[in-house]
Amino acid sequence: MGMQGDFYQLLKEQGYVFGVAGQAAVRSELTTATTILAFKYSGGVLVAGDRRATAGNMVMYDRTDKVLEIDRHSVMAIAGVPATAYEMARILEHSFKYYRRTQLQELSFEGKLRALSKLLKENVAAALAGTGAVAPIFAGYDAGQEAAKIYFYDILGAEFEAVEYAVSGSGSPTIRGILHYLNTWGEQPLSTVPEEQALIHALRLLTSAAEFDSATGGVNREAGLYPVVKFITTDGVKTVSDSQLRSLFETRVSRPR
């Protein structure tokens, strides 16, 4: 005889199934993508991500672009299963373009946030089964409020605004603490640092994440592999070139010996 008064048990006896699972997944074989970060600096928002994709212990790919430009004013950075994340980015990109072209006006920033949230909700079953978990950061320029903003999501689609910074992916616990330290006790709050300093912070943060998280790729100077970094300002999204990252890394990021 089962335990009396167990409401959950009762529900189950009534045929209730909690959380519809997808097909059982073998987690270790799934490709996942890893450290992404976004923070506010003096000119707007910086979004950056490493380039490694892993499946279990295996490095699948070292040139993944996890910081995806969705339109001229918004960027989605992805952590989780790339197949699902790229599909989401593709749907968003087309949704925003289609809205702009049919309605002859931009979708509002709130509308864009909601669109991503809806996709994540649709994906809950796959996320819980482990085959499609994605925890993205969405950053963009809110024309209505005249400010660049950062939002992050959990795998179920809950949306949170980041006042100063947001991180996601397996390497994020490492840099979350650093970001807090920098912002609170650094020379100046992150939101006031100029563009170049913001870039230096981003490169150092991702290098630190790679130090402690095997699933995060740092900088591979021999192969010329640098993280992807984008700035969002009033003018829209701007990608930092590899040559700029290289020269900055050589002159400013590493401590002089």
Binding site: R72, R90, I91, H94, K97, Y98, R100, R101, T102, L104
Partner: protein, 269 residues
Amino acid sequence: MYEEPYRWVEAVGNRRQYLDDQFKEGTPVVGVSYESGILLITMNRGTPKLYEIYDRLALGGMGHPADLEKLRFNLLEMAHVEGFNRSASDVTGSRLVKYGIAPVIKQAFEEVFKAPFIVKILLAELGQKSGKDGFLTVNYDGTFEENSRYAVLAATSAVEEEMIGYLRQQSVVSLKDAMDVAIRTWAIGDRAQRSVQEGREDHGDAQKDPDRPVTDTATLDAHLHRCIADKTIECALLDRHAQVPSKYRVLNTDELRTMLPQDLRSSLT
């Protein structure tokens, strides 16, 4: 009453006459390809006539705004579904027109119990390289034409021929050239349409001097001065050098002021 074939032919003939009448007061649309893109130009009294369809596709239209809207949505749906399911490179003007809207327009035109589309369409497609641009024009009966360097829409085919005649003689390299040529081609079209209309209404004769369209710059610019006073210039580019996937861009008044022929700049408010 349309069961007999000759009745049907007669009904289609009436419909053609009816439609020709609807475009009499329409505004011409001109598309010109230049080295680094395509320029589209027209004038309107409030309702826009130029639209973005896809990353490298732009639409210009003449006719009833509600019909144009319906076809514009058709094009947008087809383009975006195709672009998502396949790729942006698979969205081509030719397929959108030949398998998409042209059959729909033709069917509506020939179904004499239903209303036809009161619309003429110009679809401009930006190529990857200079010289690879394309234009498709669709008439109200669903017939379409393809061109590579330029295309026009006007009230009648006679007016369109006058405009094309002028365009054929021009050489266009820069955006500035394209602007000069396009706006003057528009003026030729608009003048021709008005002279047909005034001729009919005031004197009963079709055209005063049909064989020799006026192409001298001073006359055309004087006409443009008058038009700019009561209409708005609408101008859009498909810019090959744009750093984003969507190449369509509307030119604002400040940009127009710097690009229009010198004599016309003062008329812009």
